[in-house]
Amino acid sequence: MSGPLAGPAIRAVGLRRSYGSHLVLDGIDLEVAAGTVFALLGPNGAGKTTTVHILSTLIAADDGDAWVAGHDVRRDPEAVRASIGVTGQFSAVDGLLTGEENLILMADLRHLGRAEGRRRAAELLERFDLVEAATKPLAAFSGGMRRRLDLAMTLVGDPRIIFLDEPTAGLDPRSRRVMWQIVRELVASGVTIFLTTQYLEEADRLADRIALLHQARIVAEGTPTELKRLVPGGHIRLRFTDVAAFARGTRAFSGAVRDDDGLTLDIASDGGPRSLRTVLDALDHASVEVGELSVQTPDLDDVFLALTHDDRKAAAR
């Protein structure tokens, strides 16, 4: 496999692609550091799958350049293919073979040799909890099992960069958590993961960096925390233990949103340390005892809706 990567694992500059007159990607720039999880987040039809297809050498971009593991996807697709593993949106397993046969097929195509291929297949069946189903035809597999086998097949060649196109779409919550755990283990072993998803929670939990893809463009990019700071709506929540303290609190923070039954106050904040200090100082000053303080940041849903809202209005006009 390829050695340590000097530059970023994945880099794309100005990727453009259209299908007929329909522009799917309108100048996408990306950079994914080696050993990290990068999530491309967006609704259906935003261009996520097209991006994965271009970076994994399945289709060509109309314009722009991309390098994966340091190799140009256009000029040296074979070198890219040798460094990557791809698990697509639709399970790419051989439905007429058993789980074990599917894995051995991958090992043979990677020229691992008979003994090594079998060893690797057995190891992956074990790791992905597929041992019992190994010798059954795939028709007997559940959706979650098919997806796990799909990912196991991707890992046969020990790729250092893995593309996961909506790895949990259509999975039940339990299978989704299993898949998340697998992704975390992969990253822990030093693999770079490029993930697409339309689930904000998934990007939030897994990704080191997130890019929001909306209408063929990347509208925002950063760590989950940075993205959440992009939108207003964060607040500091104070929970009081008795009515007297609550009453003093409401006097100290006259602009706060109060919940008389829950004895809580929500004070608008950007979630930064300065606003937290202001609140603490005010509490000290008024000598109010607080039972519990929590900083509530907006979740990615807020970010997503805020960033895509204007365009939608513009489109409707």
């Binding site: 791809v86 073979l97 097949m153």
Partner: protein, 262 residues
């Protein structure tokens, strides 16, 4: 490993995969079954009357078995195209081909694996059909050389038709369409000298029957198996084989190389 040995290794791997599919879901019984039923129908239901019209020395049904078997054998080869197109279309709809395309494997090996597996499947079907024909009274006069030549010819026809049906399978987006597209191929033996001599047909059908590829193929096979002159039909048959192999190969390879999304 250099590019060519990698191609051979990958082709062999994918051939094994396709043969495993064929063992697990033996389509060969359908591919051989339809022509066998047709053979029995033509020989036992229509054969007495059709055979009398041939004016041969054996008379009636016995003459007709001899006449129709080469036609049925080529009908078998044409019918096998369906199996090929279906297997290609199934692979494309399953998403496994997208996986192959993003792996460092020789591009051509995917098509080679399919073509070789399907030619083998066709030849097994041909053997089954010929065995049934012999069981119901087909008495070829061919010696070892003629049999070898006959099977070589059939393998070449199968190779050409398989390449064409690989392309047809890639043209379609669904398995259902893929199974229908090669249907016209199966009609060609009927519109040639497969079941009755072409000079019994009205114009312009007769001209079409004489010119279309299946007539020289059937006549060559007849000549090899039953004795008689192969002559120019052998050359024309070989020419047609070459044309279909080259056209099918170029067409299928181009379709496989094109941008899968467009």
């Amino acid at each position: 490993m250099n590019a060519f040995t990698a191609y051979l290794t990958d082709s062999a791997t994918l051939l094994r995969r396709n043969l495993r599919h064929m063992r697990r879901y033996p389509m060969v019984f359908f591919i051989a079954g339809v022509p066998i039923v047709l053979l029995l129908l033509f020989v036992f239901v229509l054969g007495g009357t059709l055979g009398a019209g041939l004016g041969g020395s054996l008379g009636g049904r016995a003459d007709y078995v001899a006449y129709v078997t080469p036609g049925i054998v080529l009908f078998t080869v044409a019918g096998a195209a369906q199996g090929t197109a279906i297997s290609i279309a199934m692979d494309l709809t399953e998403g496994i081909v997208a996986r192959f395309r993003t792996m460092p494997i020789s591009r051509a090996s995917f098509l080679t694996g399919h073509v070789v597996a399907n030619v083998l499947q066709t030849m097994v079907s041909v053997v089954l059909v010929v065995a049934v024909a012999i069981a119901i009274g087909f008495r070829p006069t061919a010696g070892v050389v003629e049999w070898t030549a006959a099977f070589a010819l059939l393998a070449l026809v199968a190779l050409g038709i398989t390449w064409i049906s690989v392309a047809l399978g890639m043209l379609t987006k669904s398995v259902e369409t893929a199974s229908n597209l090669p249907m016209p191929l199966m009609l060609l033996p009927f519109l040639g000298s497969g079941f009755v001599p072409t000079d019994s047909m009205p114009e312009p059908l007769r001209t079409f029957a004489d010119l279309q590829p299946f007539t020289p193929l059937i006549e060559t096979l007849r000549g090899l198996l039953l004795g008689g002159d192969v002559g120019t039909s052998g050359l024309v048959a070989a020419g047609w084989c070459l044309v279909t192999i080259v056209v099918g190969w170029v067409w299928a390879t181009r379709l496989y190389e094109r941008d899968p999304a467009r």
